[in-house]
Symmetry: C2
Subunit: 356 residues, 2 copies
């Protein structure tokens, strides 16, 4: 491996699924090493299923590595797990051991006493940034389901005044079609000035932000539109500026530019209309980043903010400028794009300006 470590230990999170295709229930470890180690380590009762489902060839159970004796010896399952990993890595003569940033502390600290431990972004997290053609089709599939659910919500808006009930109907609609949406945002009036708030009664405009994952292939997509209902000049001006900022940002996205280029394009447009941004340390206005990667997690790399990450073809992320003012309310417009060599493709194609 071309890494700053000779072994890497991935614990059970979505990266373990990405790397092994095994959906572990509780604890599991995937260990790769520069001596050719490529091992999936699972609880005894999961070994059969791991052999069936994972794409890793070498599979061992905790019992195979003497875990049960260690647990009896230490009378502590956490210490026994740490010791099991340490002994395994020592057998392989590991010196520098990489662990992911979110690796659990009860294992990280003992490992750091036994090895030169490097806490790094999981290499799988980096691999996940650039999507395969198959992954892009999965995200496209979820995007289509969202657009269909949004059109369903527009029909509901003609007779339903409760944001919570509209949210429930959207989530039910998606669930019955094979998608799981949680924390869907349907917010109106001044409540919409809080980006993640939801609920209340439909007033002058409504922000609808839908981000389900497929229950079949597990890939997310993410989409927001602001629907204008009653005349509100301030909201309409804000929305026009946000749409212009988003379209300008999308127009510059292609392989080779940086995340910051995209974010600053959004800031430039919004600031040109006199709105404040986080770049100016504003507390109101454009108070979040421009976007985030989307895939097996709803928020993943690349982050589209002030960072200088260079965009590569196949990266998939949101472009979602918004403006938020306590005394007025909030607006946001969000699409998911795939970076291509000479531009980008929008996976959530839908008109930006929506009036009821």
């Amino acid at each position: 491996m071309e890494f700053e470590f000779d072994f890497f230990v991935q614990h059970n999170d979505i990266n373990l699924y990405y790397a092994t295709k095994f959906r572990a229930i509780d604890l599991a470890f995937y260990i790769v090493g520069n001596d050719g180690t490529d091992l999936l380590l699972v609880p005894d009762m999961e070994k059969e299923r791991a052999i069936r489902e994972s794409r890793v060839r070498e599979i061992a159970s905790f019992g195979d590595l003497g875990y049960h004796d260690l647990r009896r010896e230490f009378r502590n399952s956490r210490k026994a797990q740490a010791e099991m990993l340490i002994r395994l890595l020592k057998t392989h003569k590991a010196k520098v051991v990489g662990i992911p940033t979110n690796f659990p502390a009860y294992l990280a600290l003992p490992l750091s006493q036994a090895f030169d431990v490097k806490v790094v972004k999981s290499p799988f997290l980096k691999m996940r940034m650039v999507k395969s053609a198959e992954e892009i089709e999965y995200i496209r599939d979820t995007s289509r389901a969202i657009i269909s659910a949004f059109e369903f919500a527009l029909k509901l808006l003609k007779r339903e005044r409760s944001c919570d009930r509209i949210r429930d109907r959207i989530e039910n609609y998606l669930y019955l079609r094979g998608y799981l949406a949680t924390d869907t945002i349907v917010s109106s009036g001044k409540t919409s000035a809080i980006p993640h708030a939801s609920g209340g009664i439909i007033e002058d405009h409504v922000v609808i932000d839908i981000f389900p994952k497929s229950r079949k292939h597990y890939y997310y997509s993410d989409f927001t539109r602001t629907v204008l209902i009653e005349k509100n000049d301030k909201i309409e001006d804000m929305l026009r500026a946000v749409i212009e900022a988003q379209e300008k940002a999308i127009s510059i996205i292609r392989e080779g530019i940086t995340a910051r280029d995209v974010h600053y394009t959004v800031c430039d447009v919004l600031e040109s209309y006199g709105y404040k941004t986080l770049r100016q340390k504003a507390k109101e206005g454009f108070i979040h980043s421009t976007g985030h990667g989307v895939g097996l997690e709803i928020h993943e790399d690349p982050r589209i903010f002030e960072n200088e990450e260079v965009l590569k073809a196949g990266m998939v992320f949101t472009v979602e400028p918004g403006l938020y003012y306590k005394d007025v309310g909030g607006v946001r417009v969000e699409d998911v794009v795939v970076v291509r060599k000479n531009g980008c493709e929008v996976l959530t194609e839908y008109p930006k300006m929506v009036r009821l």
Copy 2:
């Protein structure tokens, strides 16, 4: 505090929600200290919502603590977060800092260089073991929904032969009633010999294991029945032994006995019929623990295994013996109980022997 540390830092997981009633989206920290510190620390854009929704009185944003300057200084958001926490704790003259076992490594290692860090089971995890009357009603509510979904599944079994389709129908049924079930198990024939496997065609018997959470109050429950469909003496004998083991175990549960007492009662009954158990290092037979706590997570403390955890009134957990043989298949019977002073109450009351 009566702990082995003078400060405790809880990061965003379900314990943070339990302790603060704030549903954080990404990063958040809840910090308690023996100098009276009781602080919820959230990203800037979440501060308003945290003030509205959490029950913590002191709320600060990352920005309030100088995070943005630190991020610019280190050009690394992870280092900036660690430094923000270290400076905050130093301001409070913290010496011994407790962190939960699953605290992320990228913060745990820098903290361990600045303080005497103790990696402990989150004190909130311990508090969560004993449920309030309100929490028990939530779990009872989810239990009722499960029983209703199971009765719906029994009707489906009369005409539907695909385990996957039955599982989808169960999950849809629950979703439309406000409960989210994932990884529901519907397995038949020899597939059922793998405890967490699902799918295939309905054969001689079917194991149905349903464990949804409420989408309103977020509490789980967990229930399994083995339904006999065609004559299979081996399966029927296994099921009789499992039911006897489960009933015997439930009959001894009361405040003051240990988890091990419950687990060994199950093992004793199963072994008396000649079945093997994990206590005998068996690879087939009763190859998992007797149960696990149920609440805001599907698997939480107390674990009902060989551990000597003393049961307290208000603890809620599963009692779920099973037997698994590759050449025959598997059976399992599972209920959720609440420990009372002089016995226990079953929240998932339903006949144990079910024939189609």
